[in-house]
Each structure stands twice: as C-alpha cells, then as structure tokens.
C-alpha cells in the first residue's frame, strides 16, 4: 500500500518533478518510464478513467492545464484516495506559489520537493493539512 512514485510531467513529456520510492530503477530506466507513461496518458481522453496499468505499476493521473500529475501505486492502494491526494498536493502548491504554474515549479524545484517531502515519506502520506505542510517551509522564508 505504498506510492511508488510521484511525477509531474508536461504535455511535451518533459519531467518537471520526480520523486521515487521504488529504488529498483536506474536513471535511464526512470527516464524511459516517464516517457512511456506520459504517452499513454496523453492518448487517453477526458472521459476515460484516471487509472491505467503500466508495467507492474498502476498509474493514477490527473491533468491540470498542461501539467500531468502522475502517481504510481501498487495494487493495494485506494485509487480514489490517490486522486484526492493529487488534488491536495496541487492545492498546497497553489497556496504556496499563489496560482502555481509550470514555470514556478521549474524555477523553484527544490521548494516543490520540500513541499512533497512534507506530505509524503517513503510512499506513505505524512500529512494533508495545508497549514501543517507549509508552516516549516514558510518559517524559513521569514527567517531568510
């Protein structure tokens, strides 16, 4: 019941953020995997369901404008809850960057990582309360 990876990929298939719990993949394999999954998800229409099987992962994805949020899970995980988690992640990013866009994430990659790390650890959800998540991150900004 763990999340194997979280990926943010744009429509062109460029990875904007990648977080893997599954450490069995090498850098090249990860890159290939990202390309394959995005192609698969792009081919699916709005009406089709948000889940697709890829290799031995089940991929839950959600599209926000030009960005795909992809989460790879095993068979035990609750797919609908993951969809909700993606939304929670997006809302958190949105609150931090106020109207988040692809460029924000690109140029503030480490911030995006810090936020994800506050929400997710070793494939399990740490917290979903936006205030709790952002408190340590914003605290540092005030100090700096």
């Amino acid at each position: 019941m763990t999340i194997q990876f979280v990926l943010l990929v744009n429509k062109q298939g460029q990875t904007r953020l990648a977080k893997y719990t599954d450490q069995s993949l090498s850098v090249e394999e990860r890159r290939a995997l990202e390309g394959e999954i995005v192609r698969k998800c792009l081919a699916r229409s709005e009406k089709q369901c948000s889940f697709t099987q890829h290799r031995n992962f089940k991929v839950v994805y959600r599209r926000y404008a030009s960005l795909f949020f992809l989460v790879g899970i095993d068979n035990e995980e609750n797919e609908l809850a993951i969809l909700e988690f993606i939304h929670c992640l997006v809302e958190t990013l949105d609150r931090y960057f106020s109207n988040v866009c692809e460029l924000d994430l690109m140029f503030n990659l480490e911030m995006a990582h810090f936020i994800v790390d506050e929400m997710l650890m070793n494939g399990c959800i740490v917290d979903t309360n936006k205030q709790n998540i952002l408190a340590p991150i914003q605290l540092l900004e005030k100090a700096a």
Binding site: K47, M106, N129
Partner: protein, 844 residues
C-alpha cells in the same frame, strides 16, 4: 565561475535538439566538477541544486554525491535542507557512500531544532539501509514519544521503513505505535495507523495484540463522522478522508478472521456506509474502502447487502473512475461471494466492450473469474463477438483468456472445436502454440468429429487463405493431411452443418495455394510438405502432382524444408511401403500430453539416455523429429507415435499393429540408407537419416536438440552425430542450468576426444554471463574453444555450446576426469559452482 541555476534552466529550455541539451549539460557538469574540486563552499548548495536538476533530466550525477554529504554536515539549516534533499534524490540505499552519513543523521536526530530533526527523519525514512536502521533504532524509539507532533508523525513513518528493513525492530515499536492512536493531531493518527498496518504486515502475531485497539479505532472514525465543519481537514464536505480510509484499512486487517473484532466494528462500518455522501470523489473513496472492509471481515449478512448495494451504485455510475473501482472490488470479492458478483454479470460483460482499455482489462479479468460450466456458452459467445472488434493491443489477452476458458469448461467436444476454431480464425496469431497442440490432441481422440472437423478446418482455411495465421494454418494443414480423404468421401453431416463437396484436386490445390503464400513461416512450410506427403497416399491420383510439388522444394534455402522434400521424394520410390508408412496416426494420449506440458522443462531437457515416456508422444505432432530419444531402447513402444507419419516402424513399436510393416528394421535401414540425396546436410547425413525415421540405433545428437521441446526439426540442424559408443552425459544440473557433454571421436586417433558442451537453461529467469572453465590432470591435455554465447534464454529457449578438445595420453589405462568451474548470473545473483566430472563413458 559557474552560472546561476536559473540560467542553467533557461539555457536548457532554449535547446532545440537533444544534442544541444547534452552539450549544455556536459559543459555544466564539467564546471560543477571543477567547483567540487576547488572545494567551493559558498555555492555548494546551489551546485547541488543544479545536480538535482541534471539528475531529473536523466544525466549522470554520481560525481557530486560527496557534496551532499558535506552539505549535511554544515551547520546552517538552508544548507542542511538542500543536503538532505540531494541525499534522497541523488543517492539510494545501495550506495556505500550512504554509510558515511549515519553519524550526521545521528547528530541531527538529537538536534534541538524540531525542523532539523524533521529533515533527518525524512531522509532516514526515505533511504535508510538495514545497517543504518539498526544503528538508529534507539533514537527513533525516543522520538516516537516526543512531545512535538511534527516529530512524532515523521518518526512514525520512519519506523515503517525501519521495520521493513529490520523486521526484528517490530518489538521496539509495537506498543508505542498503539499509543499513537490516542493522539489528537491528525497527522500523527494517520502515520500511527500506517505504522500499525506495517507492523501487522511484518509480524502477523501483532494482529492479535492490536485487536484490543478496535474500540479506539471506532472512536476515531466516529468522531470524524460526527465532527462539524473543520476547515483544516475538510475535503469537499468530508473530514479528513485520508485518515478515515487508513483506519478502515486497519480495521480490515484486524477484523479478518475474528468474529468478535468484526462484531465490534460492524456498527461504525454501517454508519460509514450509510452516512457518507457519494456525490464527490472524496466520499466515494471512503465508500470504496468501506465496502472492501465489509467484504474483508466477518460481517453480518445485512452489512454485506449494504456493501453490495453500494457496489451496484458504483457500477451503474456514469463516471468511469467509479466503474473501474467497482470492477476492482468485484474481482477481489469474487472468491468470497460469487453470488453477489453473478448478480452484476450482465453489467460486467458490457464493461468488456467499454471504450476505455483500463475498464476493459478489469472487466475481462472479472468475467474470467465468473465463468463456470453453467454460463460458459453465453459468456464465450459474448467474448467471441467482442474479439471481432477488439483492438490489436487487447487481442492477445482476450484470446488467451477465451482459449483457457474453453479448455476448462467446454460442455462438449463439438462446441470446444467450434469455439477454438473461431478464435483461431479471428486472432490466429495470438493463439499460443500449446493451445493448438492440445487442440489437435483433443481432435485425434474424437473420431466422431473427424469428418466434421476436417470439413470445418478446410472451409476456414479456404475462406481465410490470405489472412490465416500460424495456429489455423498448422492445425488445418495437419488435419487435412491426416484426414484428407474424409473431405472427399463426404460422410454424415452433423446437425446444422452445410454440405461440402470438394475433389481431391481441390484439397491438394488448397495446400498448394498456402504453400505459395509469400512470407510463409518455414515452420508452416514444413507442416505443409508433410501433409502433402500424407495426401499422396490418401489420393493416389494426385501422387504425381504432389511429387512435383515436393520436388520444387528440393533446393529450398531452408535446410529443414529441403531435407523433407528430398526424403519424401525418396519415399516415393517404395510404393507399397509408402502406404504403410503414411497410415493414420493412432489417437494421441491427452493425459500424457497434459503431463508433458506441465513437465516440459524437465522432461525435454532430460538426458537422451533416459527412456522416453509416453509423454513424448505428442511433443512433435507435426514433425518427424525424434531427436531426443532412442527408439531402440526397450521403451520404443512409447516413442512410436513420436512420429506422426508412422515412420518409426520397428516391430517392437507396433501397438495394435497400426503401421508396422512386416519388414524388419534392418531392411528399412538398408532401404533408406542411401546417402546420395542428403549429402548436403552434413558429413554424417546417412547416419542422421537413420535417426530421422526413428530407427537409428544410436542415441541422437542430443546435445544439440534435446533441450527445446519445440525444436521440431532438430534433425535438419547440422549437429554432429555422436559416435555410437559414447552416450552423452549430464555433468551439471542446478537452478535449471544444465551442462551436457556429447562426445565425438576422431577415427584412428583413440586418444583424442572432442566434447561438445551444451548449456541450457530450463528455469524461468534468464542466465547471463555464463562461463565454463575446465581443468584436467597432467596426463591429459585440454583445449577450449570460445563458447557460442554467454546468455541462456529462460525455458530452454536459447542454448550455448562450447567445444572442448581432450587428448588422453594414458588412453586405455586411465579414464577421463575433469574439474569444471561454472560461473553465471541468475537474475541478479552471481553464482560460482565447481563440479568434478568422473562419469565419463568408459573408453574415452
């Protein structure tokens, strides 16, 4: 001086081609290397940030790993934070560098600042190795009871990783985890429940102990259900769905197999199922989990009905996500409560035709689980109808499932035949070889269907001449060859069947037309040649035409086809004998076939010296090969039918007197021992030819052919025939990896032996890096040729050979001995084995 991160990103973005991007990255990597060498401290954390960016793009960054460690050891929070992030992204637990960080982690876990502790916990939880886990368990135990909720929630998740790495650590955390349930902070509750779930998974005994916590779990759920609007935890009107889901999941683990625990949670489960609103995704996620829990624990009938009703609602939902998860649960429930699932059968069957491939797959899995003797006909019809329109990506799955269902539940043979024929006509390329081989076995055992099957197959082949794929081609070809005369003779029609009137010329014409198809697989061509040969006795008036057809292939570039054409051409010279040779096959033993398939790994790779069992009978339905057994052993009777043409005809090999001509095997040998026509195959052509007809009194060149159950035409391969005196031996057999030795003597030089070592892999995983080294005592000399390959494909699909040349200077006084060192990698595991070979045949 390196550029800023922002500029790096910008210049990467401006790259128009991948080559340009590589260039930019290479330049930047070089600059970074310089900076690292110069111990640049001011920009260290910026440099690590760049490394992460480069890593994300998929370029190597190992040269910067040490920098992350230096950052972690720094005192500033910003540096530390970047250092830990770099650690988690750039390194993984396999790298030894990681050991160096243990000390810094220990320091940071003891830090006074909660956020520094949080960073260390996060890194530990994401990448710690077993050693680190062991070293830092005491710190974790303490932190789990910290007064700070931020630290508690992170250490709880950190523990999940630790116990996964070191299962013994469960003891240290088992009670502390249960205490977390009393917390008021939702993050701590969520991670605490996650930790308990993990402990239950690692240590099943903990489940019993945790059953006592069921009331607290119920209390948590109840307070979540009852609480009013709580802005910080609200997700579309529902309070903390993530926590609810996790609690429900733990309840499922605790309730399974315990009536009392299930009873204690039934009220709250019913409340969740009825009170959760199913209009938004968050609510449905909870209902989804709740239904699974209800079906997973020992709940009462009423509760189950409630759950099934929710499922029905999901299934009827327009939203595809909902239908997907509904199918998902049904697939899980099907083994528990078949009736509940049967009720939704028609909806499920509709889902197989959905436009969405994810849903189709799920539905197909479910249909597969739903089929039984009672509904097989209706469901298969649906699936067959769908097969016609299914897209290419989906067909292999569907075909395999239909074939498996038909084989398992077919109510009668005719229906079985009709269904499989339809599958083969529509998706012939996806039908697996073992399926159509089993199909032929079935048909030979159903004499009442022979005429019908011949007619149907003839029709299908004729109507799909251009598109028929290998399964249909092979089955129809074999069948027409075997029972061609039934087509012409007519015979009683089965109910509902249309009459078919064809002449002998038409039958041969059809096979000829197939033979002329461009890009015909060589395998099929060989089957066709054999079928034509059989037809030459079924239709005497077509014999000349067939002879001419066969003659066309005497110069075929395919060795196997050439050999067949030439050999069959020879058989034409023996008129009387030919008829007997080409008699009908006796029915094949279906039970033995099933055994063979099940044991194909072991049986077919068994040394040739082993007596063949009846299982060998159908290994080669369509071919002449009997290369891995010896027909002159006492069990020749069994291997008799190895040869569909009935060419093996030793007196011992004549059960029921089917095909055996009165002639003694010696006669036959001398008849066929005409070296001229196959001089091209190999120097020992004549010798091999004997083997072909199952009469060779030598063990076949097993080394080359014994391993592959489907290597139908081993006899065409230019494998050297072993000298009769020395049977091949197996010198090593472990993990499915087998090394066999076959021996060849150079005439006139008794001291010299050429050994062909054959490496096969009958296991499921590929073997790589295979190497064989050999050592011999002083009185022998050994020369090793390079091996033909170092990789052995699984299931005996690819062999490698290696030649060893041995000179025994004490020939006749001392036997051969050899010590072998065999190295290979199986999966990820490198193996090194040593064996001493003393069982060389005497006289080498």
């Amino acid at each position: 001086m390196s550029v800023r991160l922002r500029e790096l990103i910008r210049s990467v973005r401006q790259c128009k081609t991948a080559a340009e991007e590589r260039n930019v990255i290479a330049k930047e990597s070089a600059a970074l290397r310089n900076a690292f060498q110069e111990q640049d401290v001011t920009y260290r954390h910026r440099n690590v940030a760049k490394l992460m960016y480069i890593h994300m793009l998929g370029y190597p960054t190992h040269f910067g790993q040490m920098e992350t460690l230096k950052l972690i050891a720094a005192t500033g929070f910003a540096e530390k934070r970047m250092g830990y992030l770099g650690l988690m992204i750039l390194l993984d637990e396999r790298q030894e560098v990681l050991m160096l960080v243990t000390n810094s982690l220990k320091n940071d876990l003891n830090a006074r600042n909660q956020y520094i502790v949080g960073l260390a916990l996060c890194a530990l939880g994401n990448i710690c190795s077993a050693e680190m886990a062991r070293d830092l368990t005491p710190e974790l135990e303490r932190l789990l009871q910290s007064s700070n909720s931020y630290i508690r929630k992170k250490s709880a998740l950190c523990c999940t990783r630790v116990i996964r790495k070191v299962p013994d650590a469960v003891e240290a955390f088992q009670d502390a985890a249960a205490k977390l349930l009393l917390d008021r902070h939702h993050g701590v509750l969520l991670t605490g429940v996650t930790l308990m779930l993990e402990i239950c998974a690692v240590e099943p005994a903990a489940v019993d102990a945790y059953r006592r916590q069921v009331p607290s779990l119920c209390k948590i759920l109840r307070s979540l259900l009852m609480s009013g609007f709580a802005p910080e935890h609200d997700v579309s009107g529902i309070t903390d769905p993530f926590l609810q889901i996790q609690v429900l999941r733990l309840m499922r683990v605790l309730g399974a197999g315990s009536a009392s625990a299930s009873d204690a949670m039934s009220d709250i489960l019913a409340q969740v199922a009825t009170n959760t609103e199913g209009t938004r995704n968050a609510g449905n996620a909870i209902l989804y989990e709740c239904v699974q829990t209800i079906m997973g624990v020992e709940s009462s009938g009423g509760l189950r009905v409630l759950a099934i009703n929710i499922l029905g609602r999901f299934l009827a939902n327009k939203d595809n996500n909902m239908r997907y998860v509904a199918l998902n649960i049904l697939a899980r429930v099907v083994s528990v409560d078949l009736q509940a699932v049967q009720r939704h059968r028609s909806t499920v069957v509709d889902c197989v035709k959905d436009a969405d491939v994810s849903i189709r797959r799920r539905a197909l899995d479910l249909v597969y689980a739903l089929v039984n003797e009672g509904n097989i006909q209706a469901l298969t019809k649906e699936l067959l109808d769908y097969l016609k329109v299914a897209d290419a990506e989906f067909k292999p799955d569907l075909t395999a499932k239909i074939a498996a269902l038909v084989q398992r539940f077919a109510p009668d043979k005719r229906w079985h035949f009709d269904s499989l024929l339809q599958v083969m006509t529509q998706a012939g390329g996806d039908v697996k070889e073992e399926v159509w081989r089993a199909f032929i076995v079935l048909l030979t055992n159903a004499p009442e269907l022979h005429a019908y099957a011949a007619r149907s197959l003839f029709r299908s082949l004729r109507d799909n001449l251009a598109s028929a794929e290998i399964s249909l081609l092979a089955t129809a070809t074999w069948y027409i060859g075997e029972y061609g005369e039934l087509l012409v003779r007519g015979g009683a029609l089965l109910e509902g069947e249309q009459a078919l009137s064809v002449g002998a010329a038409e039958v041969v014409g059809l096979l000829e037309a197939v033979l002329q198809r461009p890009a015909l697989q060589p395998q099929c061509r060989n089957y066709l040649l054999t079928a034509l040969m059989k037809l030459s006795t079924r239709f005497p008036d077509q014999a000349d035409r067939i002879k001419a057809l066969l003659a066309q292939h005497r110069c075929s570039a395919q060795l196997e086809s050439q050999a067949r054409a030439v050999e069959y051409g020879q058989i034409f010279q023996y008129g009387e004998l030919r008829t007997q040779l080409l008699e009908h096959m006796p029915p094949l033993d279906a039970a033995a076939y099933a055994r063979t398939v099940a044991a194909s790994g072991t049986l077919n790779s068994a040394p040739a010296a082993l007596a063949p069992t009846n299982g060998n009978v159908v290994k080669d339905l369509l071919s002449l090969d009997d290369d891995d057994d010896t027909t002159t052993t006492p069990s020749a009777q069994a291997s008799f039918a190895d040869d569909l043409l009935g060419l093996s005809a030793g007196p011992a090999a004549a059960p029921g007197g089917t095909a055996a001509p009165a002639a003694s095997p010696l006669d036959l040998l001398s008849l066929l021992d005409d070296p001229a026509p196959v001089a091209s195959t190999s120097a020992s052509g004549a010798q091999q030819q004997l083997d072909l007809f199952g009469l060779g009194d030598t063990p076949a060149p097993a080394a080359a052919a014994a391993s592959d159950p489907l290597a139908d035409f081993g006899f065409g391969a230019p494998a050297p025939a072993a000298a009769p005196a020395f049977p091949p031996i197996t010198v090593f057999d472990k993990d499915g990896v087998r090394v066999g030795f076959a021996f060849t003597k150079t005439p006139g030089q008794p001291a010299l032996t050429d050994i062909t070592a054959t490496f096969t892999n009958s296991g499921a995983a590929p073997v790589t890096g295979f190497s064989l080294q050999a050592a011999v005592p002083k009185f022998m000399q050994l020369k090793l040729d390079p091996a033909s390959g170092a990789t052995l494909a699984p299931m005996g699909a690819g062999n490698a050979t290696q030649q060893l040349h041995v000179n025994n200077s004490m020939h006749g006084q001392k036997p051969l001995v050899m010590r072998l060192r065999i190295a290979y990698t199986l999966g990820l595991e490198a193996k090194l084995e040593q064996v001493e070979v003393k069982n060389f045949p005497a006289g080498l």
